[in-house]
């Protein structure tokens, strides 16, 4: 049933796309859905566009494995809409036509701005695409028992079909449907979590027997310890051989061992799980999570039964509540590579405040990293190209404003639900130790196949909707900004649409490749980086063009180039990337994981300095012209 519902959903989306695609003939229809989408539909589509794999899969996964720190992303992602509504929405609608470049270039007609804005849009879109494609692969793996890369290719193919057929029109309706379904089914999942309540012996509704990890003395195991304890992740692990079979344990104190899970990659390429060959459905890593003590009580008598959402949060915040957060560490065992998965106990009062992931009580650098992330999340939303172009799909600035309010309501509701879904996955032990991205769908699976199928299909559509929006933005940058306006190819309406479709195919293929390469990274974290790039590249230019008369085309161009370059370079030099080059994270030249605190101010500084250096007071005729309507501005407003 799961696969049937899933495939039916995808087929429906494709049908809708092809149906709407037959009606798209003009570039206005392809890039901006004719500017005639109702604000209510656009608002929900905003939610569908914005609530990406990062929001659904990534945030829920992060909350499940790090508690409140994952919720910081929800807060930051939502707060960013305040900037969009109060500062950007209406002015941008007045100034733009199809792309961000249209708006920031309105006063100048500068080829340099067009190129910088288009390249920036491409880079941001691709950075944002990576986590979406990673999320797609993660979804397909357990749902259809297919490899990760098949999931990535499937999403890529479906999205390319959607975008290449009808552009923004089909994208809008896919996002509308997905946004609405996501919120409705997330509500259903949260209600189910509350009805089930909290238990120290969760059994996923009786489907998965509770597994208790034991503690034993070495002498009780009837085996012998091989070699010395191995340090990893700040703890000691030991290998015990019993009747010729090896097992790995966490050494709690000398001689006292705690049971864990482990994977072994042998020198001959074999993959073992807990000492036996991995067999799907038979011998896999057990899902993890769990609460050991509920406000000081444990065992069956501690089960809460159905509880209210607030009561759940109150119990989890109790300092006598103990939860298991599972960590992972790598050990070299001769020629074998062993990955151990082990629980750490965390008190509720620490779980439900920042600190597990972002070390707000740590060093100055760690505090700066937290500040940098929160800054990028707050300022990034109003600078995301695929969000900005949605302002062009409605008929008036007032409609842009109203649709933003609908978006805030829908997105805010969803983000509150993420806290309960993430914590629900942790409480019900539905976290895959290999990737936290699947926590929400696996939580749904614990409530039966229908909810799992529905949530998986919606999660898949979540990826589709966001990827479609990103590819529309990227194809607009290539075909409209670069080919038509920068290169001056003067394409006909038909040719512009065809160029957009070809660009969509190209960007889609790039996204597929990157989605396969970046497998395993938390998708929220990757999106956080995309926010930093967007805020650095675009926001200073957008604010300057709206509010500062002395802005020059040189200032905008320089700011965009400096913003995107500094953000990308700092990420490449960060502790996040350094291990990917085979180096130690602590040796990374830039010590922060999030670049926004450097790159965003740098971009603002650049536009101020360069604009002041290049600004000239307008001559009298220019000043008069500036106060009168000109044909181009009217055309922009009319969307012709």
């Amino acid at each position: 049933m799961t696969i049937t519902i899933f495939l039916l959903f995808v087929a429906s989306v494709l049908f809708l796309s092809f149906y709407l695609g037959r009606r798209v003939k003009s570039s206005g229809g392809y890039y901006a859905a004719g500017g005639q989408i109702h604000w209510g539909v656009n608002g929900v589509a905003f939610a569908g566009d914005y609530l990406s794999a990062a929001s659904f899969l990534g945030i829920c996964g992060m909350i499940a494995t790090a508690g409140y720190d994952g919720f910081l992303y929800s807060i930051g992602f939502l707060a960013g809409w305040v900037v969009a509504l109060f500062v950007v929405a209406e002015p941008l609608k007045r100034m733009g036509k199809y792309t961000l470049a249209d708006a920031v270039d309105l006063r100048f007609d500068s080829r340099a701005i067009k190129l910088a804005a288009a390249v920036g849009t491409l880079i941001i879109s691709i950075c944002y695409l990576i986590p979406q494609m990673v999320g797609a692969g993660v979804l397909i793996e357990p749902l259809l028992n297919l490899p990760h890369y098949v999931g990535v290719i499937s999403v890529g193919a479906v999205v390319i079909a959607i975008v290449a057929t009808a552009g923004m029109t089909s994208t809008t309706y896919v996002q509308f449907i997905k946004g609405a379904l996501l919120i409705v089914f997330s509500f259903a999942l949260v209600i189910a979590v509350c009805v089930r309540g909290i238990s120290t012996t969760p059994d996923q509704g009786g489907d998965v027997p509770f597994y208790e990890y034991g503690t034993a003395l070495v002498s009780e195991l009837g085996g012998s310890v091989v070699g010395d304890p191995v340090a990893a992740g700040g703890l000691d692990f030991v290998k015990v051989t019993t009747s010729g079979r090896d097992s790995w344990w966490l050494e709690v104190e000398p001689g006292l061992l705690r049971e864990i899970q482990w994977e072994t990659r042998t020198a001959d390429g074999q993959r073992l799980v807990n000492g036996e060959p991995e067999v799907l459905g038979v011998n896999e890593l057990r899902q993890v999570g769990g609460v050991v003590s509920i406000a000081g009580r444990s065992g069956p008598q501690a089960d809460t039964g159905p509880i209210s959402p607030f009561r759940m949060l109150a119990l989890l915040s109790d300092r006598e509540t103990l939860v298991q957060l599972w960590k992972t560490a790598r050990i070299e065992d001769g020629q074998d590579i062993v990955t151990v998965h082990y629980p750490t106990l965390v008190a509720g009062n620490e779980l439900m405040r920042p600190g597990m992931l972002f070390r707000v009580e740590g060093s100055i650098l760690e505090k700066l990293d937290f500040l940098s992330l929160m800054l990028a999340l707050f300022l990034g939303t109003a600078a995301l190209p695929h969000i900005l172009i949605r302002y062009y799909t409605v008929p008036s600035p007032a409609a842009a404003r109203k649709s933003t309010i609908v978006a805030i309501a829908a997105i805010g509701t969803f983000y509150i639900l993420t806290l309960f879904m993430g914590l629900g996955a942790m409480l019900n032990q539905t976290i895959n130790p290999l990737t936290d991205n699947m926590s929400a769908p696996l939580l749904a699976k614990s409530f039966g196949p229908f909810l799992f199928a529905a949530i998986s299909a919606i999660a898949f559509a979540t990826v589709l909707g966001t990827v479609a929006g990103l590819i529309v933005a990227a194809s607009g940058a290539v075909a409209h900004d670069i080919m038509d306006r920068f290169a001056g190819l003067r394409l006909t309406e038909k040719a512009k649409v065809r160029a957009g479709k070809l660009a969509a195919v190209g960007v889609g293929v790039v996204a597929i490749v990157l989605g396969i390469l970046f497998r395993g990274m938390n998708v929220s974290f990757l999106v956080g980086l995309a926010f930093a790039i967007a805020a650095s590249a675009n926001l200073p230019s957008i604010l300057a063009i709206i509010f500062w008369r002395k802005t020059t085309w040189q200032g905008i161009t320089a700011s965009m180039v400096v913003g995107v370059t500094s953000a990308v370079v700092l990420i490449l030099l960060s502790p996040t990337m350094w291990p990917k080059y085979g180096l130690l994270a602590q040796d990374a030249p830039f010590p922060l994981m999030n670049p926004g605190i450097v790159s965003i101010p740098l971009s603002f500084l650049t536009i101020i300095v360069v604009s002041l250096l290049t600004w000239k007071a307008p001559s009298a005729p220019e000043a008069v012209a500036a106060r009168e309507p000109d044909a181009r501005k009217l055309a922009v407003a009319g969307g012709s």
Binding site: S110, P395, T557
Partner: protein, 112 residues
Amino acid sequence: MLHEPAMRAGTDHAAGFKTRLGLKMFGFYSLFYAGFVAINLIAPRSMEATIVAGLNFAVVYGFGLIVLALVMALIYSHSCGRQEAALNGSQDGSCDPIAGEDSTGAPRRTGS
């Protein structure tokens, strides 16, 4: 219907009001958001304190940021709509992008 050109808008005499109101509300919310970040950096353990109904400060403040965004958005929309009705004579915010516009009126300069 979906693929027609966008409608031609009328003059928006409320643009200045909306810009000023938007900036004020943005400033207020930014302070509230900055307070959240600052408390986490300066006194993170204060986030553990139970505030109401067993909920701690972190949860209350976090939910507060989300709910406040929506409340302020509704107030902003209501105020803008009322001003548009009074000054433009329409509820849908019909406006001309040039007249009354105080943000994009600088002279066009030719770029590179």
